[in-house]
C-alpha cells in the first residue's frame, strides 16, 4: 500500500484522467471558438445600403 501512496502520476496523466475537466474543455472550447465567434460573425454583418 505504501508503494501506491508514493506513486505520483505526471501532470499529463492527471489531466487526461480527469474526465470532468475534459468535459469542461470539450464544452467550453468549441462553444467559444466555433459557436460564439461564429454567431458574432453573423451578427456583425453590416446593413446594406
Amino acid at each position: 500500500m505504501s508503494n501506491e501512496e508514493s506513486f505520483r502520476p505526471t501532470v499529463l496523466q492527471r489531466i487526461l484522467d480527469d474526465i470532468n475537466f475534459m468535459m469542461c474543455l470539450g464544452l467550453v472550447i468549441p462553444t467559444v471558438f466555433y459557436t460564439l465567434w461564429g454567431v458574432m460573425e453573423v451578427a456583425t454583418i453590416p446593413l446594406g445600403k
Partner: protein
C-alpha cells in the same frame, strides 16, 4: 431495507470471462436490436434513393424521392447510429468496468424517448409535408412534430449519456477498477463529451425552430440557423468517429490480444479531439458569405489541423497495435506476414480492417481536402459531399459497428452467429459496395453534379444543359455500388435478427474467445530496423502520399477557375 433477489444481478460470460450486469445486458440488447431495425428502415430508404439517382432506373417521382432522401438521412445517419452508440456506452461502462448500470429506470426512459422521437419524426416525413432533408434549413418548414420528434430523440440520447457517466461515477466509488480508465472506456468518455456539446447545440436551434413551426416565434435567421445547426449536425458525426475509433482499438484487443502501442499517444490524440474536433462544424459554411476567413480557417483546420493529426495518429496506432500483437505472437517475418495471416474470413476482423481502410483512404483523405477553405468552392453541395460522408459514416462507422455486433451476438444474446459463410462475405459486400458508391459519386461531384437533386438531366428545362458523359457514367456506377452496399446491409440485418431468433445457443462450457494478451507471448525482439510496426508504417506512408497528391491535384484544378476575389 435490504432487498434480496433470488438471482444475482450479474452473470459471468463464458466466452469472454466478463461479468455482465443483467439489467445492462437487457438494455444493451434492446438498444442494439432497435438500431438494427432502424438500419433496415434507413437502408430501404437508401435503396429507393439509389434506384432513383441511377439515371437508367429513375424509380421514384420527385416528391417521393425527396421524402425518401429525408428519411434516409435521418434514420441511417442519426437513428441507427445513435441507438447503437447508446448500446455501446451501456455495454462498455457496465461490463468492461464490471459495474452495475446506473439508474436503470432512466435508461429505460432513454429507450422510450428515443423510440417515440424517432417514430414521430419518421411519421412526419411519411405524411409528406416534411421533406426538408436532414438539415431542415429554415425558412423552409416542416411539420411541428418533425422537430419535436428530433428533440425527444436528442433528450433520450442525452439521458443515455448521463446513465453512462453515472455508471462511471459508481465504478469509481465502488472501486471496480484501479487507477486509469481503460482506453475503450476512455474513448467512450470522449464520445460522450462531444455528444453533450452536440445535443446542447441541437437543443439551442431545434427548440426555437419547433416553436417557430407552431407560429410562436416569428422568424429564425437562416444564417444563424446554419451556424448553430451544424454545431449539432457535424458534431454528431464526430461522435461517430470517436465511437468507431474506440471500437477499432477494442476489437484489436479482443481479436488479437493487442494493447495500444502507447497509451500516452492514443490518449493525447483523444485530448486533441476534445479540444478541436468540433470545430469541423464550419465545413458546411466555408462557401457561405459574410463569415470571415479568420473564423473559417481557424475552425476548418481544427486549430492548425491538430484534430487531423489526432486522426492520423489513431490511423497508425490501431493497425500498429495489431501488428505488434501479431509479431509478439510469433508472426514476425518480413513486412507483412502479420497482415497476411490475419483472419480475413472472420467478419469481426474484416469489418474492422475495412472500416479502417475506407475511413482513412476514402472518408479521411477527401475530408481533409474538401475542408480547405478555398477547395470547398469546387466541392460545396455537389454530390461529392455525400460521397465523402458515406466513406466516413457507412464505410467507417457502420462497418465498425457491424464488426462489433458479430463479436457481441454470442456474448450478449448467447447465440451463435448463423450462416457463417454469408457472414464472412457480408462485410466485403457492404464495404466494397460502399467504396464504389463513394468513389464514383465523388467523381461525379468533381464534375459539378449537385447533391439532393432528382433529375440531373434537366429534362424539359429551357436552360438545361448536359453533363459530360463521364458524370452520367459515374452516377450509374456509383448507384450500382449503392445497391450492392444495401444488399450487404440487408444481409447484415438478416444475419443479426436470424442469429438472435434461431441461432444455436452458446453452450455453458464454451471456450473463451478473447485472444490471450499478446505481450505475454514471449517474443521480445520484434519488428525491423528498430521499428516495432514497420509494415503499418509503410501503409501509413501510402496514405500520406495519397493525401499529399490528392491535395495538390485539387489545388491545380482550383487554379484553372475564374478568378474570384
Amino acid at each position: 431495507m435490504a432487498i434480496t433477489t433470488a438471482q444475482s444481478p450479474f452473470r459471468t460470460d463464458p466466452l469472454t470471462g466478463l461479468r455482465i450486469d443483467l439489467t445492462a445486458q437487457a438494455l444493451v440488447k434492446v438498444n442494439a436490436v432497435l438500431a438494427v431495425v432502424f438500419l433496415l428502415v434507413g437502408g430501404t430508404a437508401g435503396l429507393l434513393v439509389a434506384l432513383t439517382r441511377w439515371p437508367a432506373v429513375h424509380l421514384l417521382p420527385a416528391d417521393l424521392f425527396y421524402m425518401a432522401l429525408t428519411a434516409h438521412g435521418i434514420v441511417a445517419l442519426m437513428v441507427w447510429i445513435i441507438f447503437f452508440e447508446i448500446a455501446v456506452l451501456y455495454f462498455v461502462a457496465s461490463t468492461l468496468l464490471s459495474c452495475r448500470l446506473a439508474a436503470p429506470k432512466l435508461a429505460w426512459t432513454q429507450v422510450v424517448l428515443m423510440v417515440v422521437g424517432a417514430a414521430m419524426t419518421f411519421v412526419a416525413i411519411l405524411q409528406g409535408d416534411s421533406s426538408v432533408m436532414m438539415t431542415s434549413y429554415v425558412p423552409m418548414n416542416a411539420a411541428p412534430h418533425f422537430y419535436l420528434g428530433l428533440i425527444l430523440f436528442a433528450v433520450g440520447a442525452l439521458i443515455g449519456c448521463g446513465v453512462f457517466w453515472g455508471t462511471l461515477v459508481i465504478a469509481a466509488e465502488e472501486k471496480t477498477y484501479e487507477g486509469t480508465l481503460p482506453l475503450t472506456v476512455y474513448g467512450c468518455v470522449i464520445a460522450t463529451i462531444i455528444a453533450v456539446f452536440t445535443i446542447a447545440s441541437g437543443a439551442i436551434i431545434l427548440i426555437p425552430t419547433f416553436l417557430w413551426s407552431l407560429g410562436l416565434i416569428k422568424s429564425i435567421d437562416p444564417m444563424m440557423y446554419r451556424v448553430i445547426w451544424w454545431a449539432f449536425g457535424h458534431s454528431s458525426q464526430q461522435i461517430n468517429v470517436t465511437a468507431h475509433i474506440t471500437i477499432w482499438y477494442t476489437v484489436a484487443g479482443l481479436a488479437f490480444g493487442a494493447k495500444p502501442m502507447s497509451e500516452k499517444v492514443s490518449r493525447t490524440a483523444f485530448l486533441l479531439y476534445i479540444c478541436f474536433l468540433q470545430f469541423g462544424s464550419v465545413h458546411h459554411l466555408l462557401s457561405d458569405p459574410g463569415l470571415s476567413s479568420a473564423w473559417k480557417i481557424f475552425n476548418t483546420s481544427y486549430m492548425m489541423y491538430l484534430a487531423v493529426l489526432a486522426s492520423l495518429i489513431h490511423g497508425l496506432t490501431v493497425p500498429g497495435s495489431i501488428e505488434v500483437a501479431q509479431r509478439r505472437s510469433g508472426l514476425n517475418n518480413g513486412l507483412f506476414e502479420w497482415l497476411r495471416k490475419c483472419p480475413w474470413g472472420n467478419p469481426v476482423f474484416s469489418s474492422t480492417i475495412l472500416s479502417i481502410i475506407i475511413f482513412g483512404f476514402i472518408g479521411g483523405v477527401t475530408g481533409v481536402v474538401m475542408s480547405v477553405e478555398q477547395v470547398n468552392m469546387i466541392i460545396h453541395n455537389t454530390i461529392y459531399v455525400p460521397g465523402h460522408f458515406h466513406g466516413t459514416v457507412a464505410g467507417g462507422t457502420t462497418l465498425a459497428f457491424m464488426g462489433l455486433t458479430y463479436y457481441l451476438i454470442p456474448v450478449l444474446f448467447q447465440r451463435q452467429v448463423i450462416m457463417k459463410p454469408l457472414a464472412a462475405l457480408q462485410p466485403w459486400l457492404f464495404g466494397i459496395g460502399t467504396s464504389i458508391f463513394a468513389i464514383a459519386i465523388m467523381g461525379a461531384g468533381t464534375l459539378g453534379v449537385p447533391r439532393r437533386h432528382w433529375d440531373v438531366t434537366f429534362a424539359g428545362q429551357a436552360l438545361g444543359f448536359e453533363w459530360p458523359g463521364m458524370a452520367q457514367m459515374m452516377l450509374a456506377i456509383g448507384e450500382i455500388g449503392g445497391v450492392i452496399a444495401v444488399l450487404g446491409g440487408a444481409l447484415f440485418c438478416v444475419i443479426v435478427v436470424g442469429s438472435i431468433l434461431i441461432g444455436e445457443p452458446v453452450p455453458a462450457n464454451a471456450k473463451n474467445i478473447v485472444a490471450p494478451p499478446a505481450d505475454a507471448g514471449g517474443h521480445k525482439e520484434i519488428g525491423m530496423g528498430g521499428f516495432e510496426a514497420p509494415g503499418t508504417f509503410i501503409l501509413a506512408m501510402v496514405l500520406f502520399v495519397t493525401l499529399v497528391l490528392y491535395y495538390f491535384v485539387n489545388f491545380k484544378y482550383l487554379a484553372t477557375l475564374w478568378t474570384l476575389t
